[in-house]
């Protein structure tokens, strides 16, 4: 089952690359799509993009490593993002982050060993009225504090 | 070289290296600059990045082929058919520069007479190339406003080399691409001072500046300048001299700074020739394979140990300066030669490299404006007849060296001197690697380079490798009618099926044991690029 999915993802990636063949300026677009499909951007994906778009590999890597949205490591099944925008910061986001770090045993930016959770402190999500905000796989939870956040992630275990 | 002398009047690169970055279409044929002329290669890449479109004609997938709009992966030895096919498209589709052809060339009818048979389909068949690609390349080249052609040994090192060069010249003339900025017909010279050696008259029929030995007036000038009587006998080329050595007519050879034992084709023949000599002098910086056969070896200084000039591929005369002392008793080449002249009772007429250049300027109109004093300020391109002449970055502007008009000299396809057959079914081509330079006399003395690329190998297509049971990195026996060597297999898509490629740098498994003695009838250039061979897994490779 997993394998089957993987193959489809590869095919999908190949289609995306084919659609942008030779279009150097579409690099970031294609990387977005590739990451959407593959979940992350490992070397072989970057090589395929480089080859398809006629962009040197060193440039692809340079671009990927510049933008924080792109990742070369696989992310956890559940991606926790705690907003660290100003409003959330002022209202206590750092405590939420450290609470989660402690609970999960990882630092922000890392993924748990079992691949279940990744934790990220992210830029403003634009939901300042609910500060501090946390999202898990894009589902938003507002008005967080450390305890609430820990309670919520327990539901995902 | 001889080809351009016939069609344009001067056998040199028509334009300057630096112009390439502003080109809009670049046609590269029989040249792998990123390895053989790396700094040229980078500038072609700069041009490509600035929007130039690249056409590559090469049997191998060289690095620049990957950046090309069209890669014509032709069978080695079919350049002329390819060029004729392109010209057919250009003429039939009305893409030629009519005004230029009418006003600045002659022989168009003769050209069409031959080219008309080379439809892209026919050319494609000969070359093993898709006719559509030939058309596409032709259209692209004809569309260029600044469209230089660069070629190298992949064109000249064929038995039809001169005709190949003239076909390139035909193509350029057809599109009005000679005598203008950023265009031209540009041979990338094989070695640092090939241009200079020829300019200086180290060729049988010409004194310095391409002044004909056969012209009595010129002979008289040199005779007067040198204070001796001069022979009017036509001289022999090195290939002819070697043949003469084998037959016994040639009794002594003086070799300065060359290593024909590795660099010439058909090594067995060369060895036979040199061993057959009564007397062989070799003047060099190392005890080369050739020097080992000499009766007298004279130690010379290398470029870092002497004053002088080199003339680069774009005809630019540039200074070589002494940075260190030569080792031991080594002497500058010219000083050794001067001493021999003295012992022959001839006054050499100079006591330094600078004085030689003054003499060159005096006796050579195209160098008339060149002196060491001037070279301190600017490195000019010949022709540079006077001290107030700025030099000539572009040849044939408005008027050709040959006269008012350039000449079309068409040729039909000429098959290579040796083509694959049942006994020797594969085609071997030879060439250079980035990390080496000709025979490894110099580069081979750098352990780092030898660590990167230090052994002979042969490139073979995966299909052929499978057919012969060859593995990546395995040992392989390669045999031609002239000899047999063992080398390492490099299985790669860089070469097409049926074609093999070997660098000729290495003494272990030396490629030139295999290459043929076929030569171009005009330039006498050997056919390094095509010979027929067979391969087999070497028994040593268990």
């Amino acid at each position: 089952m997993g394998k089957c999915n993987c193959k489809t993802a590869r095919e999908e990636l190949a289609e995306v690359i084919e659609a942008y063949r030779g279009q150097e300026s579409a690099l970031i677009e294609v990387l977005h799509k590739a990451q959407e499909i593959m979940g992350y951007l490992p070397r072989d994906v970057q090589e395929a993009v480089a080859e398809g778009l006629h962009v040197p590999l060193n440039k692809v890597y340079g671009v990927v490593s510049f933008y924080h949205h792109f990742t070369v490591e696989p992310k956890g099944k559940y991606q926790i993002a705690v907003c660290n925008g100003t409003a959330c910061y002022v209202k206590g986001a750092p405590a939420v982050i450290s609470g989660l770090e402690e609970e999960l045993g990882i630092k922000a930016g890392e993924t748990t060993k079992d691949g279940k959770f990744s934790l990220a402190a992210v830029r403003c999500l634009g939901a300042c009225s609910l500060a501090p905000v946390m999202t898990i796989n894009q589902k938003a939870y507002g008005l967080m504090n450390a305890e609430k956040a820990v309670e919520i992630i327990k539901q995902y275990e | 070289m001889a080809g351009l002398a016939i069609t344009l009047g001067s056998g040199a690169m028509t334009n300057s290296v630096a112009e390439v970055v502003d080109a809009d279409v670049i046609f590269l044929i029989g040249s792998n600059p990123t390895e053989a002329h790396p700094v040229m290669g980078t500038q072609i890449r700069q041009a490509r990045k600035r929007g130039a479109k690249l056409i590559v004609a090469d049997p191998r997938v060289i690095d620049l082929a990957k950046e090309a709009v069209v890669h014509l992966q032709l069978t080695p030895g079919t350049n002329i058919a390819l060029l004729n096919g392109m010209m057919h498209t250009i003429i039939t589709e009305g893409l030629m520069d009519k005004h230029y052809v009418e006003n600045q060339t002659e022989g168009f009818d003769e050209l069409w007479d031959i080219v008309k048979d080379y439809t892209p389909e026919k050319a494609g068949e000969i070359c093993g190339v898709d006719p559509e690609d030939i058309k596409a390349a032709a259209r692209l080249y004809a569309s260029g406003k600044r469209a230089p052609i660069y070629y190298c040994l992949g064109v000249t090192e064929h038995s039809s080399g001169t005709s190949g060069v003239m076909s390139i010249s035909n193509l350029a003339l057809l599109c009005g691409n000679v005598g203008k900025v950023g265009a031209g017909v540009n041979p990338l010279r094989g070695q640092n001072n090939v241009q200079g050696a020829c300019d200086m008259g180290a060729i049988p029929a010409m004194y310095s500046g391409y002044q004909k030995v056969s012209d009595p007036e010129i002979r008289a000038t040199f005779s007067k300048g040198w204070g001796v009587e001069l022979s009017s006998n036509p001289g022999l080329t090195s290939i002819e001299a070697m043949d003469g050595a084998v037959s016994g007519d040639m009794r002594a050879i003086y070799i300065m700074g060359e290593n024909p034992m590795l660099s010439d084709p058909n090594t067995n023949h060369v060895e036979k020739a040199l061993r057959n000599l009564d007397f062989l002098v070799v003047q060099d910086i190392f005890l080369t394979e050739t020097a080992e056969l000499a009766d007298v070896v004279l130690p010379a200084t290398c470029f870092a140990e002497k004053e002088g000039t080199f003339t680069n591929t774009e005809r630019r005369v540039q200074r070589v300066r002494k940075a260190v002392e030569g080792p031991g008793e080594s002497r500058e080449d010219w000083a050794i030669l001067a001493e021999i002249m003295r012992r022959f009772g001839v006054d050499p007429g100079f006591n330094s490299a600078k004085e030689i250049m003054d003499e060159i300027a005096k006796l050579t109109p195209s160098f008339g404006g060149i002196s060491y004093e001037r070279l301190e300020q600017e490195q000019v391109q010949w022709p540079c007849p006077t001290f107030d002449h700025p030099g000539t970055p572009i040849l044939h502007v408005g008027k050709f060296s040959r006269g008012e008009r350039a000449l079309f000299r068409p040729s039909p396809h000429i098959p290579s001197g040796e083509v694959p057959d049942d006994n020797y079914p594969m085609l071997l081509s030879t060439g250079r690697l980035l990390y080496h330079y000709n025979t490894p006399t110099m580069t081979g003395k750098n352990e780092e380079l030898m660590e990167i690329e230090g052994r002979s190998f042969i490139e073979i297509n995966p299909v052929d490798a499978a057919k012969h049971g060859l593995d990546q990195g395995g040992r392989v026996k390669v045999a031609s009618r002239r000899g047999e060597i063992e080398t390492e297999a490099r299985v790669t898509q860089r070469v097409p099926e049926g074609v093999l490629f070997m660098p000729f740098h290495f003494a272990d498994g030396a490629a030139n044991i295999l290459t043929s003695g076929e030569v171009d009838s005009i330039s006498m250039t050997p056919e390094y690029k095509v010979c027929a061979v067979k391969v087999a897994r070497a028994s040593s490779d268990a």
Partner: protein, 628 residues
């Protein structure tokens, strides 16, 4: 296809007719605010509950639709119920349960649930709620002081409907410029309006357009900067989500003015809903011929594409943004040449932000005179502010330039919650500075903010109360810019790192004498020597807080104290023995078991073990625990 102004009018009339029909044939219309903030607050569940409840009750003559964010984020999820003939009711803090109740009482019963209504008792103290009447929106203080130009359609129309945009006179301005005005006249009109860039610098939009217009004809581009990077500002997101066509129309007008035929919207990838709605708007406009070739039957051709950012604040800087669109690392380039002369792929390019473009159509439609009549002397029109932080009415407020900070914070924003004391307001985000309480009555415009040492920026307005530590706040902003520095030039790359390092030491109680002077020196030099706007403004939050709150810095460095009780290294939780009732609750909640005591002896915190999480203080029912 809309090919002429007449076509547009007819299209609009058909839409109006459709809406009239809808109103006539339905019992009620329900609009759920479904911007990011609404959805994050649970608007989708509310929407589903409403539909479900209607179905359960077999009510079929009610239209349920989504709108963008109306800006009153503090009240999300919001649902508007519109019964023909009666006052619209805006319900706040709706949850599925309330939603079902609203269907029951208001739709079926015909009686508004006043105590939940924002324009009823919903914002009043509990005891007053029941008595409150439903009033007009404009009588709600949050809306009353606003003038909505850029936000004119947000929360009012369905953002996914081109028809509803045209009902609000959408694309009339584009039709007007294409059929009645020359590009020069358009530029003149924009110049006369006094519109200044709403993204940060406040450069005259018309003048900028004029630069590009004056470049020789040929390929030109127009770009919308929707890389809203200021953490705490979300007006651009709201416009894109609530009224995407206003941006499309503004860009098309700009393109016509400068002679561009291609545009890009560079949008943060973190705004998926905005991207989706914008793409939808573009395809709708293309379908109707409002984008593409021969727009309104003229020679004008314009195509628009969305490009996604990838998490780099610096891409809000225009040259970095262009590099990013080109597929490069988002590194700023030297100016000059300015993008208006040499931008995308070396071609003349105009970059304006979302709010700026959203202002264009109204200016053309109502005239520069009208626009110029709003605002202050050198700052015309309105500005949208994102109110956040320690303020009751978190949300978007569009106010005329020249409104005082006090009006914004107290009248619109409802003041600081829990009776805390207002300490300062940060404008311009990480590039801006703070305004202390003594300047509350300063009219807000470009020039006044500059005088106070801050900037308008994109309109983030973070309110800080007494328990905000200004040193920590400055550290937060610098941490942000340091992290977002692209690394191209040494002043910004190394300078912000060195400054951050010092601030980190200061908040950890390791500050040394001379640090503040060094910080000032560094800040000044980084501002002067940096390559782009990011570095040139990065020290602002530090310099500005040092200007107004220097004593707080000095306390941190000299006394190792944080008066706001934020810098954990600089305070302790302390149980006042006299006040401690020995209930033991604090010891129970303490995650590290560092509180000991029993019924007889007051509880004591072991300071060596305390992690300063504050749980005890929060839990203490007798307020016996303090920070000191």
């Amino acid at each position: 296809m809309i090919r002429t102004l007449q076509d547009l009018k007819e299209f609009q009339e058909r839409q109006e007719e459709r809406l009239r029909q809808q109103e006539a044939t339905t019992r009620a219309q329900i609009f759920v605010g479904m911007g990011t903030c609404g959805i994050a607050a649970g608007a989708q569940d509310v929407y589903d509950a409403i539909c479900d409840e209607l179905k359960k009750r077999n009510i079929e003559d009610v239209v349920v639709a989504q709108t963008g964010c109306i800006g009153f984020c503090a009240q999300e999820p919001l649902a508007e119920v519109n019964l023909p003939g009666s006052q619209k009711v805006l319900y706040g803090h709706v949850d599925p349960e309330k939603a079902r109740e609203i269907v029951a009482q208001h739709i079926e019963g015909g009686k508004a649930v006043s105590q939940w209504a924002v324009n009823g008792g919903g914002m009043l103290a509990e005891e007053l709620q029941a008595e409150a009447q439903i009033v007009d929106y404009n009588e709600v203080p949050f809306f009353k002081h606003q003038v909505r130009i850029a936000l004119r359609n947000c929360g009012v129309i369905n953002p996914e409907s081109l028809g509803e945009y045209t009902v609000r006179d959408g694309y009339r301005s584009l039709a007007k410029v294409l059929t009645e005005m020359t590009p020069a006249e358009v530029i003149e009109e924009i110049k006369k309006s006094g519109l200044r860039g709403r993204g940060g610098g406040g450069f005259s939009t018309g003048t900028k357009w004029d630069f590009a217009h004056k470049q020789p004809p040929g390929q030109k581009y127009i770009v919308c900067n929707a890389d809203e990077g200021d953490p705490g500002a979300f007006m651009d997101r709201s416009i894109l989500e609530g009224d995407p066509h206003s941006v499309v129309e503004g860009m098309a007008i700009g393109a016509y003015a400068i002679g561009a035929n291609k545009g890009y919207v560079y949008c943060r990838a973190e705004y998926p809903i905005a991207v989706k709605r914008l793409n939808l708007a573009i395809s709708q406009a293309k379908e109707q011929g409002l984008l593409g070739k021969n727009i309104f039957g003229t020679d004008f051709e314009f195509d628009l594409e969305v490009r996604l950012g990838a998490g780099a604040f610096v891409c809000g800087e225009e040259t970095a943004l262009l590099a990013s669109i080109e597929g490069e690392r988002g590194e700023p380039r030297l100016r000059p040449p300015y993008p208006a002369v040499s931008g995308l792929w070396g071609k003349p390019t105009i970059i304006n932000n979302v709010e700026t473009f959203a202002n264009i159509a109204p200016i053309i439609n109502k005239g520069s005179g009208w626009f110029g009549s709003i605002g202050s002397d050198n700052s015309k029109g309105t500005k949208v502010f994102a109110l956040a932080g320690e303020i009751n009415n978190i949300g978007l407020a569009e106010i005329p330039m020249g409104t005082t900070l006090r009006e914004v914070i107290y009248d619109i924003g409802g003041g600081v919650p829990e009776g805390k004391r207002f300490k300062g307001a940060q404008t311009g985000g990480p590039s801006g500075g703070c305004i202390p309480a003594e300047y509350l009555d300063t009219p807000i415009d470009y020039d006044n903010l500059a005088k106070l040492g801050t900037i308008m920026g994109s309109g983030g307005l973070i309110i800080m109360a007494e328990d905000t530590c200004m040193v920590d706040l400055a550290r937060f902003f610098l941490d942000f810019t340091q992290e977002e520095s692209c690394g191209k030039c040494p002043p910004c790359r190394v300078g912000t790192t060195v400054m951050l390092d010092m601030l980190n030491r200061i908040v950890e109680g390791k500050g040394e004498a001379g640090d503040l002077e060094k910080l000032e020196e560094l800040g000044k030099n980084i501002k002067a020597a940096s390559l782009c706007g990011l570095g040139q403004t990065a020290p602002n939050p530090v310099l500005s807080t040092m200007r107004y709150f220097r004593e707080e810095y000095e306390e941190h460095v000299r006394d190792k104290k944080c008066r706001a009780g934020v810098c954990t290294a600089l305070f302790q939780y302390y149980i006042i023995p006299e006040k401690c009732k020995r209930c033991g609750i604090c010891a129970k909640v303490c995650p590290v078991q560092c509180i000991s005591g029993d019924r007889k002896t007051p509880y004591v915190i072991d300071q060596d073990l305390c992690i300063k999480c504050g749980a005890c203080m929060e839990a203490c029912p007798f307020d016996s625990i303090i920070k000191r």
